[in-house]
């Protein structure tokens, strides 16, 4: 009963906190992708002389980013 009451009182606060957490997670994901774009090809994949090296990495990472941005955009309200 008490827990329910407290939850009702702080519902707004909990929602805002959730939203901030979600937004931070998205920002962190995109920041990680951007760092990976530079770091991985210039370290691990630098000397891989194959299409399966940096070429595929950049291609897949871009496809993943586009897919993630599509999901991210569903958060927009009309």
């Amino acid at each position: 009963m008490v827990v329910k009451f407290l939850r009702a009182c702080f519902q707004k606060y909990i929602n805002v906190k959730d939203q901030i957490k979600r937004a931070s997670l998205w920002a962190l994901t995109f920041a990680t992708i951007i760092v990976l774009t530079f770091v991985v090809p210039y370290t691990i994949l630098k000397d891989v002389a194959s299409l399966w090296g940096a070429y595929t990495f950049w291609t897949l990472l871009t496809a993943i980013t586009i897919a993630l941005v599509c999901v991210f955009m569903f958060r927009w309200r009309g």
Binding site: T37, V69, W76
Partner: protein, 467 residues
């Protein structure tokens, strides 16, 4: 092997006629007023919005400059272009809805107008406009130069450089003037479709006809040009532009370039804005894959070129049948024109709104529109004249453009994410930024390497690639 000029002219004439038809059709839907002319009354649907964004972003650089870059540097060039795309879609996800809403709330038509209203200073808008004009006009004239060289090269000089550049200038003028953004958006949609279909069809044709299919092509690539598959573009360096030196300015292209920024105002609702971004991202992804594949293919089919930017023109002139070469030429021309007409339209709207109207608030909207329309002619002719006479300043400004445009970005970030930012701070940021970029170029201080111009590393000064 030169192509008959008459066939080239016929191909271009068919393309231009189709564009004129589209432009004429859209003219019927243009209402009165500045917003109606320059941003299609904020009522554009998803299909033209996505394709105009894509066609404006991707210029002749893709099938000339990027092919040359891949020809000389291999997959690193692919990484550079895809890193740009990643940066763009991420920035779009965060900024596009904010700009779209602010544009409606504050009735903004141009990108500097948003800055002016946010910082409550017309000087901020004026400085941003001046920076954009000084940096982007040379970039546009380089596009005309690219088409001039391409026509001259493909026809063995039968279409001289000046006529080739003029052939690009006329559609630019017609599409931009006839019905403003509505015409540019729908002709861009046509150009975008031409760009993607012609380049994809030519890629499949070349791979199957000259390389024996995809499997055989990949085997040949691994055997004959395996060095290109390594990451061999220096991350940092000071002789030529390093990977970071080129990637960082392009990463912020979606915010720094007014012709793409203005497109965030045009979608009719949030769903359309979302679809615009999806459409652009998919287009950009496919077009980048196609362009860089051409770079690798050119290395196999036309090896040993001293000037990498000649890779695509040489492939078209010496390997493929004339009909394929003409189709590709039209595709490249569509890419160039769709970029320049958008740039010229945006710059003209900025002169009308951020220079004339800002300092004459009592002026009528009709007068502002008239001035904006007049400047479409002024900018088109200036770009053409610059392309024709190629003054040394053009090469310098064009090379400085990507860094020069970047100085506006901090003010755009501050517009949305820094409540305490003031007009003097925005002004100082832009002015000091431009001075540093200029001094860096003049004094030869290039921590991230010497700047490329926009048609590739060696299309203006003609010095051979060192790689």
């Amino acid at each position: 092997m030169a192509i008959e000029a008459v066939w080239v002219c016929l191909g271009i004439a068919i393309w231009f006629a189709a564009g004129c038809l589209v432009s004429y059709y859209t003219r019927k839907y243009v209402g009165r007023g500045v917003a109606e002319y320059f941003i299609a009354g904020r009522r554009l649907s998803a299909f033209p919005a996505a394709l105009t964004y894509a066609a404006t972003t991707y210029s002749a650089f893709m099938l000339v400059g990027l092919v040359g870059l891949t020809y000389s540097l291999g997959v690193s060039a692919h990484g550079f272009e895809l890193t740009y795309l990643i940066g763009t879609v991420v920035l779009l996800a965060y900024f596009a809805p904010r700009i779209w809403i602010a544009g409606r709330l504050y009735d903004c038509v141009t990108p500097p107008e948003l800055l002016s209203k946010r910082f409550e200073s017309k000087w901020v808008g004026l400085v941003a406009t001046l920076i954009c004009v000084v940096m982007i006009v040379p970039y546009s004239s380089v596009q005309f130069m690219g088409i001039g060289y391409l026509c001259e090269g493909l026809t063995g000089g039968a279409i001289p450089f000046a006529i080739g550049a003029l052939i690009a200038m006329i559609p630019t003028l017609v599409y931009a003037y006839w019905a403003g953004m509505r015409s540019v958006a729908w002709t861009d949609a046509l150009q975008g479709l031409i760009m993607i279909t012609t380049s994809l069809a030519a890629l499949f044709y070349v791979v199957h006809t000259f390389l024996g299919g995809w499997g055989s092509y990949f085997e040949r690539l691994s055997a004959e040009a395996s060095g290109l598959l390594k990451v061999n573009w220096p991350l940092l360096g000071s002789v030529r532009e390093s990977y970071l030196g080129l990637t960082i300015p392009w990463f912020f292209f979606a915010l720094s370039n007014p012709q793409v920024f203005q497109r965030y105002y045009v979608p009719k609702d949030v769903t359309t804005l979302r679809r615009m971004i999806w459409g652009f991202a998919i287009f950009g992804f496919v077009y980048t894959l196609v362009s860089t594949q051409f770079g690798l293919i050119c290395r196999l089919l036309v090896p040993g070129l001293k000037v990498a930017d000649q890779a695509m023109p040489t492939l078209l002139a010496t390997k493929v049948p004339p009909i394929v070469a003409i189709i590709m030429l039209v595709g490249i021309m569509a890419a160039a024109v769709s970029t320049i007409d958008s740039i010229i339209l945006t710059l003209s709207s900025m002169v009308g709104r951020d220079v004339y109207r800002a300092f004459r608030p009592s002026a009528s909207e009709d007068k502002e529109l008239l001035i904006g329309k007049a400047f479409i002619f002024v900018f088109a002719i200036v770009c053409y004249v610059f392309a024709l006479f190629r003054p040394g300043l053009i090469a310098i400004l064009s090379a400085m453009a990507s860094g020069g445009m970047l100085v506006i970005v901090p003010s755009i970030f501050a517009t949305f994410f820094w409540k305490r930012a003031t007009a003097p701070a925005a002004l100082l940021g832009m002015v000091v930024g431009v001075v540093i970029v200029g001094l860096g170029y003049v004094l030869g201080v290039n921590p991230l390497g010497r700047a490329f111009n926009h048609l590739g590393p060696d299309s203006i000064d003609g010095d051979p690639m060192p790689w």
